[in-house]
Amino acid sequence: MHKQLMISKDKQIRAAYLFIVLHTMQVGVGIAGYPRLVFMEARQDSWISIIVTGLILHLVIACMVFVLRTYEKQDLAGILHTIFGSIIGKSIAVIFVIYFYLLFFSVIVNYIEFVQVFIFPQMQSWFIGLLLLSLVWYAVLGGIRVAVGASVVFFLSTIWMMGLLRKPITFIESRHYFPVFDTAISDIFSGVLISSYTFLGFELLWVIFPFINDKKRVNRYSQLAMTFTVLMYLTITMVVIGYFSPTQLEQKVWPLLTLFKVLSFPFFERFDLLAVAIWMIIVLPNLILLGWMVTFTCKRVSDWKQKHCLVALIILTLILVWIFEDREFVNQLTDYTGKIGLGLGFIFPFLLLPFAMRHRMKRKKNHAKN
């Protein structure tokens, strides 16, 4: 494995895309159920949980960028290889591949569940999986540029849905927001923990970093993306809390999708049906970028061809989707993925920090010697 990645000029992308790419990676299936989850823990003080999560996120990103900058032109696999040597480095990288794959799989099963609950209860899971996976296959074959492009175009074609919140906002009851500052610190903290799954996806930075053209701006745009995501989640959660009464909210599994039920246009009623279909466009960037991440890291670790990794990924997912079909399993999988993500996504970068600092010190010494 080459630790240093040489990326040809036409494969590079501008740092500004990170704003959209990281944001689309974070927004996906999680947001539909997130307001309820965080409300169950932190009640009316959910906004504190979200802001705290946001602050932690900014720290994590700063830490990741620091580490990545230390080892220029290397992705996660390369960095792990440099720090821990061949065997341990590779095994940690394999853990990450499995973790990325878990994310990928949890996104796909969650979306399949949306479709089955809202639109087609009879549709077979594997068939919806096949539809999504065929698109992932087609896009990932185009490489990183198409993956990023898909996320940019899909972001632009779905961001208008934020405007749909205008109608529910008019139905907000302000007393749903009270009492404020009534939640115990420990509950707010568990609200932060439960948020982890929804905010995951920024790990893309580990893999995409060598492909960035102007690496100096990476920090700026990644931080902006985090701010944007946090603000978006905060808005959605506040609208949902204001719209539903606490008891109602606890019963709604996907409050955001339920929210769309009140929308109606002169030529269109029951917007939630369309929303679930459009959600495919929101979920696809997730899947495409995750698919790219899994296959690319897999290639880096194993020296297989990325094409073959992609085919393996798709066949494996199809089989797994076919085997695991029930709601219980999806729930558990999402929970576990969130917990693993807490460790590998949020805490892991800080573990690499000391190594990166030592590397920088060494380099400085070497410079001084020369």
Partner: protein
């Protein structure tokens, strides 16, 4: 071929008898063609031989500038004297029968003086061509109406008159091994990007084919992805559009015997631009451009949405609409998918029949097909009224696209979309949209991204493609064409803003 011609030149065919040359040319090269015309005469003790293809040459010129000149002089003629004294330019000295024959095919006249070392050929081609006429496929209401013709000479003439700039380069290529055609790569050297030029030059040089046929065929030979339904190079018959794009830093290719020109590289959105947007005021131009994009979206959305809604998602139809829909569909025995496919097919039939028939009959065809059959179809209970409206609207919308190829592409992708919507409702529909978007993102035109300025996102180029701003404000060429000179002109000096009453 080349080897053989070398051999003959080594052995040296000439000097020879006139009769031998005539026999070799007529029976050997031209396979006893009836149009092979020979004139033989004696002048000052030398036998002179003149040969040409009957309808390929201007006979007046031959009589006036060749035969008369030779007969009226008293000197003895030889090859050198011919070259010096005949007042027609572009003479060639040929030493093999094959070369002479090939020249004659291009409208040359061959003159040979018996027992000389070489034969002289002069170009006196007679080219039947039509005059430049009004553009038919890309008709404009506003602005220049002239269109290209089938003659490369006329086209070059039109282009040169429009672009009287010393940096205009026209590189010549001969493509086609059975029927060689002249192809010209045209660009402004000071503006066009070198990488693009090299790429196009390479593709033209590498191209191996028997016959180019037409410029839209040439695009299919040189484009990036032959399997996509979307055209990747713009084919236009309007010289003003061609020259405008050249000035913007793109390349042009024109092909002899073809009345349209190729513009490269092209992005997706330029298929929705018309030069008319430039001729009208900027706000009108912007509105019309945006309207075309909306029309394209409606064209691929309306019918599939109808099919999806009526097949699977009744819930989305508002009550008021549901009553009238139900009423008009109550007599229709088919499922919505079949109903929509029948009607879309009918519209396509009318369009195709109207295009194939002569103009006058075509119009009648449109009326009969559109009004009479449409009415009858509804009354017979084949389709619902509302579907007729929807299908007609989406057909109209697809015709607003200025590029015929792109319009056809949009009309054709509607069919798979309808089928997907009929099979899996909204999921099938959005699956198809996602597929189309990814597909378009993957395309390239001359190795440049196809979906620019949306991706790669270039906000500064949007005023050059998706809408327009006043000319004085948009003094930058599109970045995505990578022009050498990015500025069109220096920005005008700002006038001091005055207060309301000063």
């Amino acid at each position: 071929m080349r080897r053989r011609s070398k051999k003959t030149s080594k052995q040296s065919y000439f000097p020879c008898e006139i009769e031998k040359l005539e026999k070799d040319l007529k029976d050997g090269f031209f396979k006893s063609s009836a149009d092979f015309t020979v004139k033989k005469f004696e002048h000052e003790n030398k036998r002179i031989f003149i040969a040409f293809l009957n309808y390929m040459v201007e006979k007046d010129q031959i009589f006036k500038h060749i035969t008369e000149v030779i007969l009226q002089s008293n000197t003895e003629w030889d090859t050198k004297a011919l070259e010096n004294n005949i007042p027609i330019s572009g003479s060639e000295t040929r030493e093999s029968v094959k070369d002479i024959g090939l020249d004659m095919l291009k409208g040359y006249v061959a003159i040979y003086i018996e027992n000389d070392d070489a034969c002289v050929t002069y170009p006196v081609p007679q080219l039947k061509e039509r005059q430049p006429e009004r553009a038919e496929t890309e008709s404009l209401i506003f602005g220049p109406k002239i269109s290209f013709t089938e003659s490369i000479q006329t086209n070059l003439n039109i282009i040169h008159w429009r672009l009287d700039n010393p940096s205009l380069v026209t590189e010549k290529f001969i493509i086609g091994n059975e029927i060689p055609s002249e192809v010209r790569l045209i660009y402004l050297k000071d503006i066009a990007d070198d990488e693009n030029i090299n790429e196009m030059r390479n593709r033209l040089n590498k191209l191996q084919t028997d016959d180019v046929l037409e410029s839209s065929v040439l695009t299919q030979y040189v484009e990036d992805n032959s399997y996509s339904i979307f055209p990747q190079l713009y084919v236009t018959e309007l010289p003003d559009r061609f020259c405008y794009e050249l000035k913007e830093g793109k390349l042009g290719v024109i092909v002899d015997k073809s009345s349209s020109a190729i513009i490269a590289p092209t992005n997706f959105f330029s298929f929705f631009e018309s030069t008319e947007d430039l001729y009208t005021r900027w706000n009108m131009g912007s509105f019309i451009r945006l309207m075309r994009l909306v029309a394209m979206f409606l064209s691929i959305t309306l019918t599939p949405l109808y099919v999806a809604a009526l097949t699977f998602h009744y819930e989305i139809i508002p009550t008021a609409l549901l009553v009238s829909l139900g009423h008009s569909r109550s007599r229709v025995p088919f499922p919505p998918l079949l109903e929509a496919l029948i009607l879309e097919f009918l519209i396509e039939l009318i369009r195709e029949a109207g295009a194939r028939l002569p103009t006058k009959v075509g119009q009648t065809m449109g009326i009969v097909g559109g009004i009479v059959v449409g009415q009858a179809v509804v009354q017979a209970g084949f389709t619902s009224n509302i579907l007729i409206i929807i299908v007609a609207l989406s057909a109209l919308a697809s015709f607003t696209v200025p590029s015929y190829l792109m319009g056809s592409a949009i009309r054709i992708i509607r069919f798979p979309l309808i089928i997907m919507a009929g099979l899996w409702g909204f999921i099938g529909l959005f699956y198809s949209y996602a597929f189309i978007l990814i597909h378009v993102l993957k395309q390239k035109s001359l190795k440049r991204p196809y979906f620019v300025p949306i991706y790669p996102f270039r906000p500064k180029d949007i005023d050059n493609s998706i809408f327009r701003i006043p000319f004085l404000k948009s003094n930058y060429r599109a970045y995505s064409n990578m022009p050498k000179k990015i500025k069109r002109f220096e920005e005008p000096s700002r006038q001091k803003k005055e207060d309301i009453d000063e």
